[in-house]
Subunit: 149 residues, 2 copies
DNA sequence: CTTCCTGCAAAGAGTTTGCATTTGT
DNA sequence: ACAAATGCAAACTCTTTGCAGGAAG
C-alpha cells in the first residue's frame, strides 16, 4: 500500500481537504527516504530547503500531524525531546531500543508485536494506525560510566 | 522489588549522590499512587503543594528524570504533549492504546511484550529499564466524526 | 466563488539551566 | 569541609495559533 499523489488526493478530498503542492512534496520526501531513516520537523524543513523548496515550518508541523493522524506517517518518540517521522509501511515495520543516557537508538523487527496491536484494536473497536514497542535501557558503554550523567 | 527510603539512599550513594527529603517525598508519592495512575511534572507539583510540600518545579523535573534513568519510574508518552510518570513495577506492567484524535488512553496488559524486551536487551548487552507498547489508533467515537479535527 | 491552506510573526507549553544558597555525607 | 542539591528566575526548544493573502475544488 504505497501512497501516490493521486491516492493522497482522493483520501484528502473524501474528508473535504485538499491536495496542495506542499503536501505532495512532503509525501514524496518520506516515500524516497532510505529505509529506517526518520526526520524531525526541523530535519524536514532543512531537507526541503536544500532542495530549494521553501515550505514554512508551520505548514510542516501541520502536515506531519495530519499525515500521522491519517496513518500515512508514524510518529516516533526517540527520547530526544522532539518527534521523528517516517513512512508507515507494514513491510518495514520496526521498533526501537533506546539508551536513556546517550539516546542511541537501535531498530529491530518483531512480527508478533503487530499481531498484539491488531488484536487489541480489534477487540476495542479502534482503527489501528501504528504500534511501536519502545524499550528504554542502558547501553553497554553507558553502563561502564555509571557515575557521570 | 519495592523501593524504600533506605534502598533509595543506598542506590544514590553508590553513585555519589544523596538522599534528600525532596527525593524521599517524591518516591513516596509514586509508591502510594493508586495502580494505573500516572502524574505529569505539573501534576506532581500540585499533589505536593496540596500536601503542604513546596518542592520547586526544577527539582521535580530533575528528580523525575533521575528516577527514570535509575529505572525507578517509567516515563510514559501519552501523546498529550507532556510526559507522565508512574512507578516501574513488573507486577503492574502495562501498555497503552491511545486515540490520536481525542487522546483517550486505554491500559492493557500483555505478558509476551516484556519477554520480547528482555530478549532484545539481553542480546544487545543493554540493561533493561522499561518497555512499552504504544498503539496509536482512532477510537470508535472519533471514527464517527471523521470530518472534524 | 467559497472554503481551505499557507506563511509570517507572535504566543504558548513544557522543560532546562545558571547561579547563589542550603544541605547531605 | 566539600561536593551535591535546591529554589528562583530567566532562557530555551519545540510546537501551536491568529490572521491576511493566495490557491484548490
Amino acid at each position: 500500500m504505497t501512497y501516490t499523489a493521486a491516492s493522497l488526493r482522493t483520501e484528502l478530498n473524501e474528508r473535504g481537504w485538499r491536495l496542495t503542492p506542499q503536501r505532495e512534496i512532503i509525501l514524496d520526501i518520506f516515500q524516497n527516504l532510505p529505509n529506517g531513516n526518520h526526520l524531525s520537523a526541523e530535519d524536514l524543513f532543512e531537507v526541503l530547503r536544500l532542495k530549494g523548496e521553501n515550505i514554512s515550518l508551520s505548514t510542516i508541523y501541520r502536515t506531519l500531524k495530519m499525515m500521522s493522524r491519517m496513518g500515512i506517517l508514524r510518529e516516533l518518540e526517540l527520547a530526544e525531546g522532539h518527534k521523528h517521522y517516517e513512512i508507515n509501511q507494514p513491510s518495514h515495520h520496526h521498533h526501537h531500543l533506546i539508551c536513556v543516557k546517550c539516546n542511541k537508538a537501535i531498530e529491530f523487527k518483531n512480527e508478533s508485536i503487530l499481531k498484539i496491536g491488531s488484536k487489541m484494536t480489534l477487540k476495542e473497536g479502534y482503527q489501528l494506525l501504528d504500534c511501536q514497542l519502545t524499550i528504554h535501557a542502558i547501553c553497554p558503554s553507558c553502563q561502564r560510566s555509571l557515575m557521570t550523567d
